[in-house]
């Protein structure tokens, strides 16, 4: 007998879409208890296999049902350093919830009936945060004498740092930007991940003894070799997938055609939505078009729509995507939220050309209609443009969200680091060690774009291998 899933509280559409306040408000205790009670505590739980860091989901949900939230917190933190973050940004419908017994086998993503594992994780994570619950550390007398450098303070870097610091290892994180967090800081908007949550997790690392050095670009200010010379016994590279892809169509360099990275960085990291209090400007259009179907596209569109509403411009933001909604890689929740807030979806369209005015500002986007053809390498049906179906859309701001490539700022000056044909770092899959001795890597710079939790999964694996490596030194 399956009871209905407990709906999550959300800020009303009207209230939230003209602000950057958090949209999902989370479960209260009663709701969490009710949702947890839906879990049938499978004898052989399949959900766990869907978690990139292998959280004992069954166990932590069981602890919730017993109101032992501290035990639930300890259970999650055993495997996941950042439950309050992952509970907010994990695409659970592709991971744990998809493997939940309530999801039918062949569904592309989790059934609505699947246990809301991510919301429960968030409830527990926030409980731990609000009550400042301690996290188990296991200081190792040998390892405590060593220091490790972590390059990049995104999900992979933060996670690796947390894991290593728990052994007592002195960890220094080097960050190129002026604020720590990587994509959690510049990419994910505050209405999905409030910055006080991120700040809490970063502060927590500092309490474990981790130092964060902003404004340092390894590869520019210091080489990996120099880091070793300075006494770091090992290095973890969590560089991220730092360089935006563009469409390669004419007119793409017209003014007000942004990469999603630039658009989101201006708004999230630089607070351009508070211009002129903050000094970084952003162009807010009357017809804003986001191209792409991933989480970044949803984030960009929802930000664009908010900017319009906050500036009394009639909301007119569209997502243009080559396939249909089913093939969109975005989290289902983000798609739903985007729609609720008023983002329009134009599906099966392929941009072919931007055109502009005499000042070089983008004004129109030419597109072709598509239909779905045979599945491609990703298993998704390939969009095929329909000849003669071209049409023109008004577009005074365009945001390209079609993926990222490896950033070469460090790899380009480190010839000993073996790269694959995409420029990503090649690692030993068991240990995450690179072709350089003592240098490990994880996150998007290994194997391309993934999720926050996948990056953390790799970082954990690397951290384990680093401790083994250090013990043998």
């Amino acid at each position: 007998m399956i009871k209905d899933p407990v709906k999550i509280k959300e800020r009303s559409c009207q209230e939230r879409s003209a602000s950057f306040e958090e949209v999902v408000l989370g479960y209260g205790e009663e709701e969490a208890l009710k949702e947890a009670s839906r879990c049938i505590q499978c004898k052989n739980p399949t959900c766990i296999s869907g978690c990139p860091v292998g959280i004992d989901i069954k166990k932590f949900i069981f602890h919730i049902t017993k109101k032992d939230y501290a035990a639930a917190y300890a259970t999650i933190r055993e495997k996941n350093n950042f439950p309050s973050i992952c509970g907010r940004v994990c695409p659970a419908e592709y991971q744990c919830r998809r493997k939940c017994v309530f999801t039918k086998k062949d569904e592309p993503f989790a059934s609505e009936r699947a246990i809301n594992i991510h919301f429960l994780e968030r409830f527990v994570g926030d409980f731990g945060k609000d009550n400042q619950l301690p996290v188990a550390t296991h200081k190792d007398p040998v390892l405590s004498k060593l220091k490790v450098a972590v390059v990049g303070s995104g999900p992979a870097g933060l996670c690796a740092a947390g894991e290593l610091a728990r052994y007592g290892i002195k960890v220094d994180i080097f960050e190129a930007l002026h604020k720590a967090g990587g994509v959690l800081q510049y990419g994910i908007p505050p209405f999905r991940l409030p910055r006080n949550i991120l700040d809490f997790e970063i502060d927590y690392l500092k309490k474990l003894g981790v130092s964060i050095m902003p404004n340092v670009i390894i590869g520019r200010m210091q080489s990996l070799e120099e880091l070793f010379k300075e006494g770091y016994a090992a290095i973890f590279l969590g560089l991220g997938a730092g360089t935006p892809s563009f469409l390669g169509v004419p007119g793409e360099n017209l003014c007000n055609v942004y990469s999603a990275n630039e658009f989101l960085t201006r708004v999230n990291l630089m607070s351009a939505y508070k211009f002129p209090e903050f000094h970084t400007p952003i162009t807010i259009g009357k017809h804003m078009i986001v191209i792409g179907g991933g989480n970044t596209a949803m984030d960009a569109a929802r930000v664009a729509l908010r900017l319009q509403k906050m500036n009394n411009i009639p909301a007119n933001t569209s997502i243009f995507y080559r396939r249909t909604e089913t093939e969109m890689p975005a989290r289902r929740l983000e798609i739903e939220h985007a729609k609720e807030e008023g983002v329009q979806f134009k599906l099966l369209v392929q941009p072919v050309k931007f055109s502009g005015d005499e000042k070089g500002n983008v004004k129109k986007l030419m597109c072709l209609q598509c239909k779905l053809g045979e599945p491609d390498a990703s298993g998704r049906r390939r969009p095929v443009a329909v000849e003669g179906s071209d049409f023109e859309a008004d577009c005074d701001v365009a945001i390209i969200a079609v993926g990222l490539n490896a950033n070469t700022i460090l790899t380009g000056v480190t010839p000993d680091l073996q790269l694959d044909k995409w420029g990503d770092i090649v690692v030993n899959q068991e240990t995450m060690e690179t072709s350089m001795k003592g240098v490990f890597a994880g996150g998007d710079i290994v194997g391309g774009e993934g999720t926050v939790i996948e990056a953390m999964g790799m970082a954990k694996k690397a951290a384990r291998a680093i401790t083994e490596y250090l013990k043998k030194l």
């Binding site: 520019r220 200010m221 960085t265 630089m270 002129p276 000094h279 070089g360 070469t408």
Partner: protein, 275 residues
């Protein structure tokens, strides 16, 4: 990130050109001619790129020279010795390829004169015969003449109003030089129209011509693509692929327009801050 010295190089029509030295041991150790930093004056500030004009490795400082043109440079100009920047990162971009070319002409216009200084020094040190052309609207806004004289074998000046040196543009002087002799490299930094005209002027002679572009940037590390420019029909990121490019291949029109995207925002915010 602390400012350790500051002087006003020039003040003309209410606009100052300011030189500061900033503590930046890590950057100073690695900086090469042609590279730049990205800085913020405060937590609410913009990230703006500025060329590294000089380095003092003993003191661990770098020298920056800027014209108080927009909000951020005006705020930067308000900082005094002892004040700290909020953020400073570098050295960014490719360094100038320094080798012995032979006879080199270096053209600097406006505040671009500051940016050619380290490059001129490096070219001279590498054994090149350096001819320098400096351009300014009028004599009173010319900067660093003495320093650049030392960094070159001959120095020529052009002013728009003829108040100093030759009356006319740097390109007029350049044209004469190219008609009289052959050169191995022309290197130019200055306002976009000047760099574009340098490219036009050297095109017929076929002499290799390099320019350092001043595209708008955010992170400066290749992450955002704000600084993209079309070079030889291909999109390049000025921050990581440049900032120097072959002048003949740059889409100048596009660069000019892209650099004007936020002109209205800039005017608005300067007005609001009474700057």
């Amino acid at each position: 990130m602390k400012i350790v010295s500051k002087d006003i190089l020039n003040q003309y029509g209410g606009v100052r050109i300011v030189r500061i030295s900033v503590e930046a041991v890590g950057i100073a150790r690695k900086a090469k001619a042609g590279q730049f930093v990205v800085l913020m004056t405060s937590e609410k500030g913009e990230r703006v790129p500025l060329t590294i004009v000089g380095v003092d490795n003993k003191k661990g400082t770098i020298v920056l020279i800027f014209q108080e043109a927009g909000l951020t440079t005006k705020l930067l100009g308000q900082l005094n010795v002892g004040d700290s920047l909020y953020s400073l990162v570098g050295p960014l971009g490719h360094a100038t390829e320094i080798k012995k070319y032979g006879k080199v002409i270096i053209v600097g216009g406006g505040v671009g004169i500051a940016e050619i200084y380290p490059v001129a020094q490096a070219f001279k040190q590498a054994g090149n015969k350096v001819t320098m052309i400096l351009g300014a609207r009028t004599k009173d806004i010319l900067i660093l003449e003495k320093e650049l004289k030392e960094a070159s074998d001959s120095l020529l000046i052009a002013t728009d109003d003829g108040s100093y040196g030759k009356k006319g543009f740097t390109t007029d002087v350049l044209r004469e030089l190219l008609a009289q002799d052959t050169y191995d490299l022309v290197y130019a930094v200055g306002p976009i129209p000047m760099m574009r005209n340098v490219a036009k002027t050297t095109r017929a002679s076929g002499v290799k011509t390099m320019v350092s572009l001043n595209a708008l940037m955010v992170d400066g590390t290749g992450m955002c693509g704000c600084c993209r420019v079309t070079v030889g029909g291909k999109t390049k990121f000025s921050c990581v692929d440049g900032p120097e490019f072959d002048a003949q291949l740059v889409d100048w029109d596009e660069l000019l327009k892209r650099n004007a995207i936020y002109q209205e925002n800039e005017k608005h915010i300067c007005r609001l801050n009474n700057l």
